[in-house]
Symmetry: C2
Subunit: 561 residues, 2 copies
Amino acid sequence: MNTNKSGVRALVSLCVAHGVRQVIISPGSRNAPITIAFENHPEIKTYSIVDERSAGFVALGMALKTKEPTAVVCTSGSALLNYAPAVVEAFYQHIPLVVISADRPNEFINQGLGQSIEQHNLLSSIVKKSVSLPNIIVDNNQQWYCERLINEALLAAKTGKTGPVHINVPLSEPLYELTSEPFENPKHIKYSSVAKAQWSIPEVERFQKTLILVGQNQIGQELNDILSELSKQSNIQIWTEATSNVAHPNFIDGIDKLLASFSINDTLLFAPELLITIGDAIVSKRIKSYLQQVNNFEHWQIGQSPEVVDTYKHLTHIFEGNEIEWLLSFKNQLPKNSNSTYQSIGLTQKQQLEKAHNTYCEAADYSDFSVYDAICKALLNNDIDIHVANSAAIRYMQLFERSASQTYYCNRGTSGIDGSTSTAVGAAMVTEKPVWFLTGDISFLYDSNAFWNEKLPKNLKVVIVNNHGGGIFRLIDGPNKTKVLDQYLETHHQLDAANICAQHKVAYQIAQNIEEVNNGIAWLQEQESTAVLEIFTPRLLNSDILKDYFKYIKNYTYGNN
Amino acid sequence: MNTNKSGVRALVSLCVAHGVRQVIISPGSRNAPITIAFENHPEIKTYSIVDERSAGFVALGMALKTKEPTAVVCTSGSALLNYAPAVVEAFYQHIPLVVISADRPNEFINQGLGQSIEQHNLLSSIVKKSVSLPNIIVDNNQQWYCERLINEALLAAKTGKTGPVHINVPLSEPLYELTSEPFENPKHIKYSSVAKAQWSIPEVERFQKTLILVGQNQIGQELNDILSELSKQSNIQIWTEATSNVAHPNFIDGIDKLLASFSINDTLLFAPELLITIGDAIVSKRIKSYLQQVNNFEHWQIGQSPEVVDTYKHLTHIFEGNEIEWLLSFKNQLPKNSNSTYQSIGLTQKQQLEKAHNTYCEAADYSDFSVYDAICKALLNNDIDIHVANSAAIRYMQLFERSASQTYYCNRGTSGIDGSTSTAVGAAMVTEKPVWFLTGDISFLYDSNAFWNEKLPKNLKVVIVNNHGGGIFRLIDGPNKTKVLDQYLETHHQLDAANICAQHKVAYQIAQNIEEVNNGIAWLQEQESTAVLEIFTPRLLNSDILKDYFKYIKNYTYGNN
């Protein structure tokens, strides 16, 4: 019989998965579920030591000798603080000591009950990682969160320069309820770093459907080259965004278009067996919810950081190191022949979508959509840097063709609107290249001091698509149902950029139809100092056209056009 | 003319050394010295932007494009908080933004003056590193500290996954005093990581005197092998301690003996041109003060951590990665021939010292010194693990010969006495090997619950050297001059381990002369469960004998024997 606390069973299973074998338990009641679970696991050897100060050092001695993470378990209250001398020794001697403390649930801390103190973060300055698990697991998100936190702590103990970690486990009464369920297999996140010259990549031959998803990065030509090589493999699809800054005919570059077009059958056909992610932020929301819902794939995260970033809730392996070297090793270890149709499925769909997209664009009414289409067409193949503001601007830009001669930038670290213009100004100040900045009206007005700069760069071309408010909120299902949309979400307004430009002596033109847009872009290209083109679009029509577009490309792809 | 604040000049020099070229300054008075210094540096391009929020993003745009660290400088007060939106974007987009804030001196914070807020650590959760420089630099320690903090912050911005950092600069009035002094060359700490298969090691051929100092580690046979190879080079000396766990006739293994023997001439002869450190803590205090006083050498720190740990105040280069791989690369890049006499000087001195040491040991009176000598001789060449307590025990053990069959452990992470016995107990619980634990009386009594363990390991042999107090304090110059030595420093007592052993049914014997010590060790070797030998030594004589020993070996080496 085992404890009925599923989080505790996951904790014990993951300790075993990460190499813990010796566990020293100091007696107590609050930690009974943890004690029961460790006692029950056939791979674990448990010992009882009363004095936690001594127990901490005994575990340290075991970890010194076995060179494996070793756990100590105590009850709630001051017990935990008796581990502190051993923990600080482990911290400076770099020993993977895993401190597990039972705790009362948060709501009872400092409420006059016995053995309840602020345990969370109590050791944080002398451990590599400190986590506190959720008390009650009510849904899959909580389960995922609980398992992820345990993985994060145990990975921190073992990776890089090793060291102690603290896992705090709040537990509600009753504490002694048992179950006959066996240990589950919670998600075990593995880790590799490039300690040796050649990456060892586990069993790549087993994957017939590998999806490489390229997030925001400025890695440059080397990444484009190796991905182009990989895109010749029949079992690989490579999905990119504007901010991925890679381009090749075999890459699928309109993720939102692609996902919008999916039939139920496509959802299964495109589901990867292996997801490889490179780079930082992904703009597309659709791909996050799509991949979170796919069953059973492996996700390998490649990059310079050992942090657990589990955007798709399937993270299985972190490879810490140089992306290019990893991809080269990966390519060399791929089997030469594969009969997979995965890539051809992707490229066929891509071609269909391009036809649908082009047909729709030709007929689209004047709107944000047609304006961004015109801008992208006018700038295609220009050797320029393109800065794009959050958030409608970057989402629209993702729908249209781009070329390898263009480098895209966007503040997707936190996706704020607060400094998009200033960022473009700064980038333009340190390059001779033309820098185009594409922004909505709210972003531009928010950063209204961006032009207050005595060395405003002459190579900066600003395009404002002014739809008189945060039209992005009309595209999302929640906000468009509420009465406060106009005033408090969308920020509907009648402002424009004319006075800001006048204040700072910046050349300024407006456009109100596609012909004026095209003339305006030509005018911008000719300007020899900072200039602004402000394009006004019909506020209420924009969201309808975008929704109609996504409907159209789906119908077209399945023969209903 | 430049600012007369030397810390600010160091800040600017180090920014340049670490690759900063663009600096955006927002106007203010408190930051005038920083502004003046940046304006004065020929490698720096400065820009003025009033609104700090915009300035932060402009710098971010510059860093995005140049891929170099870019600095922003503001005055004290809320100005700093206006950088926060750009800093958090830089944090999640991994951009090396260097935030420099002027501050009032600590003593004036929250005292009702204008623009004085708690700036230090204000951004700490959204930067990679946050440092606050010393306000006034009164001595070399402060200068070293100031330069080290600047290096730490700038290294954090550039290394691993890059990101923003915050350097807070408290500045006293007057702020506008000028000097005609040029920029100094403050210590610039470089960094390399093993991004490529082969380490590139700068100009190894220039060093005729390379000292490899091996700190505490459990790396094992591989380290012994590569160091043995390196010890054949005529320009290399390898210095080790008991806890280095390496042994070879060419290694110099008694650092304290060696340094105690130095004539003024030796101080210069042994001074390295290059110091290479591997492993963690070094026990010897003498080597720390010796190397801190040597002029002009390079110090390369090799290991798994990017942290700046500048024990010897000469750190010049951090190589982050696997020690063995680095040493192999180093060896391959060494020139084949060298006429250096550096190694032979070291080995000659070592031989002299061994003779002196042996002569002294033969005649030494019964004391801690002769007891540790007897223990080490009895255990030499035994295939055992040896745990040693802090602090007299490990210092004595360093003086005597050890063999490669012995593995030494000691809690030198923080050098506490709080859990030495428990650590040895834990280590013995997970091995079949005999584990010997050598401890002083205070350490043993402090950790008195270490035997409260139902699975007390049978292979544990404990030797307590009981001199009735912390005799270590009699060896140091400060404490032995004070009246409170007996009661508050040395902890003079009449306790012994007999009752603790009786309580936990542990076999126990005592020894009071060398013959009993030798018999006691033989008795311990025969015991088939945990056993304790407690050796009593003459409290007041011990420190005299040790001081006499160091005097003797110095005189002997220089022909006065």
